[in-house]
Subunit: 230 residues, 4 copies
């Protein structure tokens, strides 16, 4: 069972390479087996070119390594915090993809400027607060996760499957690791188009609530009409 | 006969992939057989990598599926509205290509800034009005087509083979599906250059009427001089 | 002898494809045999994928076709005008490469912002005047060449091997067709960096005369030190 | 021993090609054997496609060529000045990569806008002063190196492994030639994201000192936690 999870997590990591979201060893994807409470994640600083499913590191939700000989991604504690707080998610991805990172660095949420955005994110992609010097000096990676959760205080993580960590970069999530990677790819495309939109029309108001509703629910929920599901 | 149409429509869809205009299952191309009044269109949410001509869905002009086991593109009703309103067109393409979409999101028409534009679009690429909450809540996909047609009230769809749907993305058309795809590719290049032009020179007035005429009619109409036709 | 010229001109045209400067059948390169007074140029509207050296069209300096079964590039008259006016050049290239075209559309010369520019262009890349309605309505392609030559009234075409035609796109030239293509590639890179520079620092003054001199003469003239020539 | 250095330096040069940092024969990488006091560097103006390890030119620290039949990179004197001044570095790279060059041309340092930057550069990437006409007219290439060293008067070259030469382009360095190339690649990505950040939020203050410290020391020094070292 974990072999299947590790293969799936490897594929999600490789999807980030195929889509041009990561440079060298940047980025990481993980997936969780909710029944066993175990998370498989990319090892730290290993080249994607030679990475195998067996290199994935398995951790429990408290960060105890239960399988794997390599060190896990240095962002593991953020992933675990998200899995603990958002019970509906099955995968987490972190990248420094360039346009999403630029919005995070600029400290600006990505407005819902169009239907591409609305198809995947039911509202702006939010930005966390900046971490304080104490939060950075303390358990920094865990605190990054806490800042994300604080920001989702009034937000549904299933309706808005991603966030920009201020001064850092995006995290996305989904039903499984590949879905989280898909959201990372779409977020980068949305961030790129939003950059061009914001510079073409700084006063752009974005889509109406009616259009946001229509597009989001076209792809999500019981009344979804997109794709081949019946 | 429809086999040929379906193959042609498949090729037009794949052209969007080859030219980098679509991400995942985004985008759709269709073509019409005017004699039979039948439209072949890409199925909804199917990966381009494995798509075959046999996956194309055939619909009549009222949206009744007459061939194909898959669900058609969720944008079918927009395509059909365009075919009904613009009798000279034989193909329709919809993408969320990044720069054209940015102009659509910004709610700005693309001015005819240069001869690349004038070679294909005889005037600015227009933007539709925004759909009202009622139009969105009603038959949204059909109403998208109606907004396009309203915008072409005083425009010739053969002289301006594309439009930006406000807050959404571009539609293009042409003599057949491949021609519509070609216009989608050129529109994206024109939109990209227009973005750089507008940010380099916000006051840019664009080409003169004389230059617009010269370039457009160089490639179109009885006196065209471009290419190998005699 | 012309076989060799036609092969060389084909290669220069294909270089434009390899470097991403042209879309579909856009762009054209030509070369001249000065002894025979004959120019080989790309045919009009033929796909690059299937183009052969034998497809190149040979014209004399007055535009009389002396070899080839296809129609020459619709820009032939501009090329010929440049060959007649600039006796030292052996090749001409025209593209709609995106950043150089954006500067041309914006009607702004490209300032010598850095040493990359200075290595190839001894001063700003100039913009022509706009063509008048009469010039456009008359022998438009020839008049495009004349506008370029007017702009070089006080400029040395060997020191500044390219120009932006206002509202249109760049032309470049060089010792032969491949050199002209090389200048087209470098011009696009220079235009791209200049775009980012101008938007980062609109007041940027560009390089000093001393730096312009040093870099230009590092690669050109009797005292050149770059490369393996002795 | 030098065979190994020359092979390593070739690989670093080819890494610049693979990562899209160089055009034609632009750019150069070198590495030093500190014990022997010998530097291997790319030859001047040789195509990357056919370059071999044997083409690398070996020079002593005073610029005397001790091995190789080709002329060394025209930037050799800058490399040597850096090796003499910064005893801890083992490799130097120079490119005209587009976004780093744009910041250099704009005369703006790259602020530490985010953690991607902080992972590699402990503070802004600085810009040198412009060279005077005398410095340009004199030993220009050497003086370029001196300007870099002047700029690092109060900076640690191991903590900030790169610089922007005003009106020119970046130089980076590292423990060896490949590390210098790695820093060149990361610098370009950081410069690109910084461009988007600065244009999205011109008032962006960048990361806090606490975040700069945390990310830099996560990857550097005795307490580094990133990667597989134990």
């Amino acid at each position: 069972m974990l072999e299947s999870l590790k293969s799936h997590v490897l594929e999600a990591n490789l999807e980030l390479v195929r889509r041009g979201l990561v440079l060298y060893t940047f980025g990481n994807a993980s997936g969780i087996d909710r029944e066993q409470g175990l998370v498989a994640i990319k090892p730290s600083g290993v080249p994607y070119e030679t990475m195998t499913a067996g290199d994935m590191v398995v951790s429990d939700l408290e960060g105890r390594i239960v399988e794997g000989t390599l060190k896990p991604s240095s962002d593991l504690a953020t992933h675990l915090e998200l899995y603990r707080a958002f019970p509906a998610i099955g995968g987490v991805v972190h990248t420094h993809s360039e346009f999403a990172t630029a919005w995070a660095q600029a400290g600006r949420e990505i407005p819902a400027y169009g239907t591409t955005h609305a198809d995947y994110f039911y509202g702006p992609v939010p930005v966390t607060e900046e971490l304080s010097a104490e939060e950075i000096g303390g358990d920094y990676v865990l605190n990054t996760g806490r800042k994300i959760i604080d920001r989702f205080h009034n937000l549904d993580p299933e309706a808005v499957p991603g966030v920009l960590v201020a001064g850092h970069a995006p995290f996305t999530w989904g039903a499984d690791a590949m879905s989280a990677a898909y959201h990372a790819v779409v977020l980068e495309a949305v961030a790129r188009m939003a950059y061009y939109t914001a510079t073409l029309n700084p006063a752009c108001a974005g889509v109406s609530q009616a259009l946001l509703d229509r597009h989001y629910f076209r792809k999500h929920g019981a009344k979804a009409t997109y794709g081949q599901r019946s």
